[in-house]
Symmetry: C4
Subunit: 214 residues, 4 copies
């Protein structure tokens, strides 16, 4: 840790946010509904489980998206050196959207194979788009306001690189939202691909090893 006395305030916000991320990720699974005995009697358990694929896709995509948001959230907190009230409420907005994710996930699981799937996919990709916008706003606020005075030039350079990289997030998720009007399943698949892409891409110029000690 650069600063041995990182304000405990920041640590507590980070720990609280982690709690919310972890719970939101883990709650997703209760939206995968065990098939009822009537349907199993008719088409068999194996086919019932296969027909649940929209639930698996939605669960996997939401899980991966929240996990990647968590990883990046973590990186932001390693960079910032203080926080202010606006930061607290931008973070609150991000958490609000993340805790909302189980609802569009459940809706998508239920209606992806329905003739009104478009609306479910719109809401799902729209929620993820909103998360990417809230994350962007959080980062912009953090990089402009919470780094300026005391940051080393290395941190400032890193912050500029991150800003560059993050500028692709919202337009890409806007694209997924657009695709949801054409093909529901593909728009969700695109969200999954984006989560994997942001996962692999990582942090500018180095691995995860040492965001704080480097």
């Amino acid at each position: 840790m650069a600063d041995p006395c990182l304000p405990s305030e920041t640590i507590r916000i980070e720990a609280f946010s982690d709690g919310v991320f972890a719970i939101a990720m883990t709650l997703l699974v209760i939206e995968i509904k065990v098939p009822g005995h009537d349907l199993v009697a008719k088409i068999g358990l194996a086919r019932c489980l296969i027909s649940l694929w929209p639930s698996y896709l939605a669960f996997l995509t939401s899980f991966a998206t929240i996990l990647v948001i968590w990883v990046h959230h973590h990186w932001i907190f390693a960079l910032i050196e203080r926080n202010d009230q606006s930061f607290l409420y931008w973070n609150g907005l991000l958490l609000f959207l993340v805790t909302f994710v189980p609802f569009p996930t459940a809706l998508l699981s239920e209606y992806l194979l329905h003739r009104e799937a478009k609306i479910a996919a719109n809401l799902y990709t729209g929620t993820i788009l909103a998360i990417s916008l809230a994350f962007d706003a959080l980062w912009r606020h953090a990089s402009l306001r919470l780094l300026s005075a005391t940051a080393t030039s290395a941190k400032q350079k890193e912050a500029r690189q991150i800003t560059k990289r993050y500028r692709f997030g919202p337009p890409l998720y806007l694209g997924a939202f657009g695709v949801s009007f054409l093909s529901e399943a593909w728009s969700v698949g695109l969200c999954l691909v984006l989560a994997l892409f942001f996962a692999i891409r990582g942090w500018p110029g180095r691995g995860v090893t040492d965001p704080e000690t480097a």
Copy 2:
């Protein structure tokens, strides 16, 4: 941190409380029920989702209220320098009321558009009023008993300012409870406005940056 050796007792209570706040906030979403196929067949998915607005309002209001309670709870813990058994149980009462919130939230979601909405709104605003009273009791106990001996005069002055500010909480929530007898939706809206008001208003005389290092 003023004291590098803040008793680990206080830290554990704070971490435990944070866990309860985070879970209560995240559990709220499972009370937004995915509309059933029958209703969707009749009025379409879009109109079903729109008719869920009481759920969204209740979710947002409960989330914002618990988030603001968490932020203020956090500030109290930054000020106090020790704890005693009464504090532990006042805190337990606050946590009890916070974990109860998903029930009146679900009740309100289900019955806000029903002719007996008044009872649901009474219980909802009454629960939030009870939370504000429990928080007030926690703060009174903390400021009178857990600060007196060792606090610096700066902390004591801050404590007095907070006491001044908090005296508006319970009467305002009593007002919301009163409004719930006249208009259910407006009483919930008032709770939401109050949460935003206490969020923006913040801590006396400074930002969030440094409650402990300042």
Copy 3:
């Protein structure tokens, strides 16, 4: 903290246990079911809410019991100075029983006013009795094995006092289990009274302030 280098192992077990306690307590609320529209149409929302009193009683009793277990669990961890594998698994057994609590709580909520209430009350009070036995075993193991060599005589004296006090726990809960064969509601009420009693009684010879710094 007596020892600035308390093994991080113990801290992680404590934090993990806290997480389980917090989640189990918060999950209890989702077992209070919002009354259905059919019943509300018949007897009105107010009477529906009143008829849910077994749910409130069960929720309150389970919440208070887990909270008190958490407080005492915390005190044990402040005393022990190391841990071993048996301790880990006694703790695992305690956590297992605590995570099970929402099931007998839900069962009691559903069947306390039913003619087979006795079985629900047996399971409920039996589960709490099992928790008190697991806690007792955890404490016995901790006090005999994890304190002996390095503890100061003050800690050893405290440990002896705690052992004395805890010997009342299992017999009292056995009493509640016995009462569940005579009166279901009273046996649950007795569990609630016991939780409040152990809450107020506290730790031998001092307040909560300083189990570690004293």
Copy 4:
């Protein structure tokens, strides 16, 4: 702690993983369904509760499995000295599989006594097999990449011993998966026995006391 300045990155990943483990374990209980009034009226509450034994078996097995994974996960984190991006995503895969566990657990509870129980047992044991493979991959990556340069020879020796011991995990769980094609209940029982076996067996050459201070 070997290193007083263990990178806070690792601590946060560990804390986040702990949160996911704790929530997944605690959520399992909500899949034990309170028996309905119709069935209770027909066969009595006692027999209803007894007929829920597949739920209890599945709950206990999943709880024990996740608890043991948590304990071992913890030991790995005590050994590694840094992390990299691959580690983060192997860990993410493990967490993904762990959060999925409540679904096959609920499926097994519902269908263990059904004539298509085989499919439920296949999915259940297959999920646990996948967890053991993900854990193995996590450990391989950690032991090869994250220990090599700076580890003391004691740690390296310990790592080699662990690798030796862990090589039994995946084949044993593959066995349980195989048994699930012959007898559903026995395959689940075998998973429970394996969890207890890995629990008792512990860490090479010593107790839990001091993985970090030793």
